[in-house]
């Protein structure tokens, strides 16, 4: 049977949509009436003319009659709809608990699913905003590591699978010539990458092919926000000269606001300049700093390109052994979203669970209500209410409920989507494109509407199938709606418990894994530490020996500030900073073959760094003021390096070098061993780290390249470090106002950043799991209290026949718990199968962690028991005398 009876549907169509032909039909009917009347009068002896006139007078204006009929019809239709809606609202107001629970369940299901799907559709499903993004590929070492210039140039020369291939390199220059000096996130990249992406500038032009040659490469394209911020959105910016790291660059154009490149690293780039490869650089196979982008030639598959690059690489491997690590070719889309896909899919699974639970909840609530109303329906139809009218009434109720729930769900989805975007960690790409996805909203709304309508209509179908007398009689006894209905409700409850259990196990695993991450010792004490990057690139402080004096003086002034306990500096801070992995060799050991030398993070520090950061020196000493160019080179190594290279030996006094041993190397004596610190991945196995004395590193003291003209200052505060930020800035600027200060961060925030991803997913999963638990508890409670209230008569009878309170309690609880336990069992099996999918999200805990499974099962059983116990206790307190009189 269709949801709406056909004649009714046809009438609705005629009244609302096909009004014109409706009116014509009425007009025709009235005119026919006049003609029939005229025929009648003619038969009585009037002339045709007289008869027609008399008939017209009697009928009155045809239009007027049509008008009246139309008003009446619309009035009747609206009046019955209004009556149904009024009746529904009254009925819902009489059952506020039911209405609130149903609306809340729908809102949570719709809201959560639509919000998460909105994120997924923007992040995973939306193609990247470039021309034919499916043909864009990324070439890297082992998926994430950059490539050396010589390798890139070989690939570009030899690979036939690509139309275009270009390289990009991270660059954070000092910008002057705008409204104020600042350091900006930029990339240097091959001139034809803009063309490869197929994007056009908002103003001016992008690079020409020849502009990556040395001499012509001092040109730049600005990002929209930089242009707005520092150049007052000057529309005639093209041709203007700006200074980057003190050198003159001509601005070529401005990109539109939506333009974002690169999409997976150097996020937030606001300036692009060409990269050039002078001969010395072009032959470099060691300095790996390039990310390679390519556009596949038409019709070439990614696997073909992959095979070709692999072939070229293995040929190069023979020519230059050790210089070619494993090369990976991936689609740009995969590179951008591959890292977050598992997490987002797990979240999608979680919200689908919530949606299913919500629908199951609404379904069994409506079903219970329908059973309760079966008598009402039976009485009304016995009194002559038409089935259509009843269906329409019940349909109205479901639709009103679904609309209220849907409206709340839309509001929730809109709010939740905004909240998600603001809370999401930086690792999720394309977040700026996240907007409420209307398709997702429509889908979830549709699912919930359908649920509501299907189960809301159940009593109307039942009535037509069953004999009224039976329903009325059975109603008198107070039943639970027959075995079929009871089974259906039990099924809903069991599936809710199962789904909630799966979700809670997922959330439990995330909690365990997060706890493991939190308990990781980072090796430093982050509380009270403030860090800031200070750069003198392009200023009068850059040339030696003023540079070292500048940093020394700035630190001295910071130390004198009230509230500062100690201060020092390092080139690259752990987690927040860069990592330069340099290869070294050990004195007295055979010189390793190229590409096989051990490497370590190359960190350069000023005295007092370890004390300020709270990193214990386990053996030997710290770097001292006296470690200068005039004294022998020194190095502090971390435990991991000491253990790896001098197992069982005392590393103090051993010598290493980062230079070529044949070419008058700078030997560094190990003077101390420091505790391991995290590098960038929280909880990863510690790797080799070296700390060299700033005052002994010529490249840091003398080279003008922007790679060496900044330091990260760290200070330990006695109180809240962020309160010190303003005075620290002024202290630095009091030495030189042209120095740029960026990335002023509390070390606590830096540490939090490292676990931001897991924290975010944990939070979401925990929210979804709580919602699922709550909905299931409400569901079990609702069904059990309903069943108890329907069985009042039976329970009264049992008690009258001698059952004790305890017997009744056990009877009711056992019945409810049986269903819950079956659900929990199914849920455990489901969880075992499904949590496997979240393996990549877990740290320090197995996907089948028995503690989590046990604890979650326990929680669920306790929740189910409570939800069962409350109505059961009510049942056991029934007074048999009242119960037997109970309707």
């Amino acid at each position: 049977m269709p949801l709406m009876p056909r004649p009714r549907l046809a009438s609705l169509w005629r009244n609302l949509v096909d009004r014109k032909s409706r009116d014509e039909a009425i007009g025709e009917e009235v005119r026919e009436y006049a003609r029939l009347l005229a025929d009648e009068k003619e038969k009585e002896g009037a002339t045709a003319e007289e008869a027609r006139r008399a008939a017209a007078i009697e009928v009155g204006g045809v239009e007027q009659v049509v008008e009246e009929v139309r008003d009446v019809r619309a009035g009747v239709f609206l009046a019955t709809v209004a009556a149904d809606v009024r009746y529904t609202l009254r009925a819902l107001a009489r059952a506020p608990g039911f209405a609130a629970a149903a609306i809340l369940a729908l809102a949570l299901g719709i809201g959560a699913t639509a919000a998460i799907f909105s994120v997924i559709s923007a992040v995973l499903l939306r193609p990247l905003p470039y021309r034919e993004p499916g043909r864009l590929a990324v070439i890297l070492h082992r998926r994430t590591n950059p490539v050396a210039p010589a390798n890139f140039l070989d690939w570009r020369r030899d690979a036939k699978s690509f139309d275009t291939m270009g390289a990009a390199e991270n660059w954070i220059p000092n910008l002057s010539g705008g409204s104020r000096p600042e350091s900006v996130q930029a990339v240097r990249m091959s001139a034809d990458l803009f063309r490869m992406l197929g994007v056009s500038p908002l103003h001016g032009r992008v690079f020409l092919p020849g502009e990556e040659e040395a001499g012509r490469d001092h040109v730049a394209v600005l990002g929209y926000r930089l242009w707005q911020r520092s150049f007052a959105a000057d529309p005639r910016i093209a041709g203007r000269v700006i200074r980057l790291d003190g050198e003159a660059y001509t601005v070529l154009g401005v990109m539109p606001p939506s333009f974002e490149f690169p999409p997976f690293w150097a996020i937030g780039t606001e300036l692009w300049a060409p990269i050039s490869f002078p001969p010395a650089r072009a032959s470099n196979r060691e300095g790996q700093s390039l990310r390679i982008f390519g556009r596949l030639a038409a019709g070439v598959a990614l696997s073909t390109a992959r095979a070709e690059i692999a072939a070229i690489t293995s040929r190069l491997e023979k020519q230059y052994p050790g210089s070619n690590r494993e090369v990976t070719v991936e689609s740009l889309q995969e590179t951008v979203v591959g890292g977050v896909r598992p997490a987002l899919l797990v979240l999608l699974g979680a919200v689908v669970c919530v949606l299913l639970i919500a629908c199951a909840n609404v379904a069994h609530m409506l079903l219970a209500r329908a059973t309760a109303r079966e008598r009402e329906v039976a009485i009304r139809s016995a009194l002559g209410a038409g089935r259509r009218r009843m269906v329409r009434q019940l349909l109205t109720e479901s639709v009103v409920l679904a609309i209220l729930g849907g409206a709340a769900g839309i509001a929730l989805a809109a709010g939740a989507t905004k909240l998600l975007v603001s809370l999401a960690p930086g690792e999720i790409p394309q977040l700026q494109a996240v907007a409420l996805d209307w398709r997702a909203l429509a889908f979830t709304l549709g699912v919930s509407l359908l649920t509501g309508v299907l189960f809301g209509l159940a009593p109307a179908f039942e009535v037509s199938r069953r004999d009224l007398a039976g329903t009325l009689r059975e109603g008198e006894r107070g039943s639970t709606g027959g075995p079929r209905r009871t089974r259906l409700r039990s099924l809903f409850i069991a599936s809710e418990v199962a789904l909630a259990l799966v979700l809670c196990v997922g959330a439990g695993l995330m909690i365990r894994s997060f706890a493991a991450l939190e308990s990781v010792d980072p090796g430093f004490v982050s509380q009270g530490v403030l860090s800031l990057v200070v750069s003198v690139t392009g200023t009068g402080q850059a040339p030696p020996p003023r540079r070292a004096a500048f940093f020394g003086e700035a630190l001295e002034r910071i130390r004198r500030l009230p509230g500062v306990a100690s201060a020092s500096a390092i080139n690259h801070l752990p987690i927040a900073g860069d990592i330069w992995g340099w290869s070294f060799s050990i004195e007295g050991r055979p010189i390793p073959a190229p590409g096989e030398s051990p490497d370590a993070a190359y960190r350069v520090v000023l005295p007092g760094y370890f004390a300020t950061m709270g990193i214990p020196i386990l053996r030997g000493r710290d770097i001292r003021e006296s470690d200068t160019l005039d004294s022998p080179g020194v190095v502090v190594v971390n435990e991991a390096l000491a253990r790896k290279h001098w197992p069982g030996e005392d590393p103090i006094g051993k010598r290493i070098t980062f230079d070529d041993q044949d070419k008058n190397p700078q030997w560094l004596t190990v003077v101390g061993v420091s505790k391991n610190t995290v590098r960038n991945a929280w909880g990863a196995a510690p790797q080799s780290e070296t700390y060299l004395a700033y005052l002994q590193q010529r490249r840091y003291l003398e080279r003008l390249s922007s790679n060496y003209t900044y330091l990260t200052l760290v200070l330990r505060a006695n109180g809240d470090p962020s309160a010190l930020a303003p005075s620290v800035r002024s202290a630095v600027w009091s030495v030189d106002p042209n120095a740029t200060i960026s990335q002023v961060l509390k070390m606590d925030d830096v540490a939090a950043m490292a676990v931001a991803g897991p924290r975010f997913y944990l939070m979401l999963l925990a929210v979804f799991a709580s919602v699922a638990l709550l909905l299931s508890a409400v569901g079990i409670y609702g069904v059990m209290s309903y069943s108890v209230s329907r069985r009042t008569h039976e329970i009264g009878l049992r008690m009258a026949l001698g059952a004790e309170q305890g017997d009744v309690l056990r009877l009711v609880v056992r019945q409810g718990m049986l269903v819950a336990l079956v659900g929990a069992g199914a849920g455990l099996v489901g969880a075992l199968l499904l949590t496997r999918l979240m393996k990549t999200l877990l740290y320090g805990v197995q996907a089948t962690d028995p503690i989590t499974f046990g604890a979650v099962s326990l929680v669920l059983v306790v929740v189910a028991l409570t939800a069962n116990y409350v109505p059961a206790r009510r049942a056991s307190r029934i007074d048999p005398l009242i119960a037997l009189r109970h309707d």
Binding site: P7, I26, E32, V59, D71, R73
Partner: protein
């Protein structure tokens, strides 16, 4: 003939229309004539009140209509009772019986 205040007793008109259709399906003029006949000319229903009532009752599900050919070969919209209409007629007849009894006894009381 006197003008009948149809709007004064809307229920009456509905009842008369339902009654007029118990034996056969009729078109608009046929209904008006049938009402005149069964009320012995007391009620003469005009199109201005007849058509709105017919359509309202059709919308309420008591009547159904279809186009057919009249006795003298003209096209006309014929109305017939639906089962709901028959039930409605029964309900209204009982109600009318109660009301007229009540009014009659009220008027007899001194």
């Amino acid at each position: 003939m006197e003008e009948t205040p149809a709007n004064l007793l809307q229920g009456t008109l509905d009842l008369l229309i339902l009654k007029s259709l118990t034996l056969a399906e009729l078109h608009g003029l046929g209904i008006a004539r049938r009402i005149g006949q069964i009320t012995r000319g007391t009620f003469d229903v005009k199109p201005g009140s007849l058509f709105p009532a017919l359509h309202r009752m059709e919308e309420a599900g008591w009547l159904a209509s279809s186009w057919g050919e009249s006795e003298n070969g003209r096209r006309a919209n014929y109305y017939r009772l639906t089962p709901a209409g028959r039930r409605q007629l029964r309900t209204e007849t009982e109600q009318w019986g109660r009301i007229s009894l009540a009014i009659a006894s009220a008027l007899k009381t001194t």
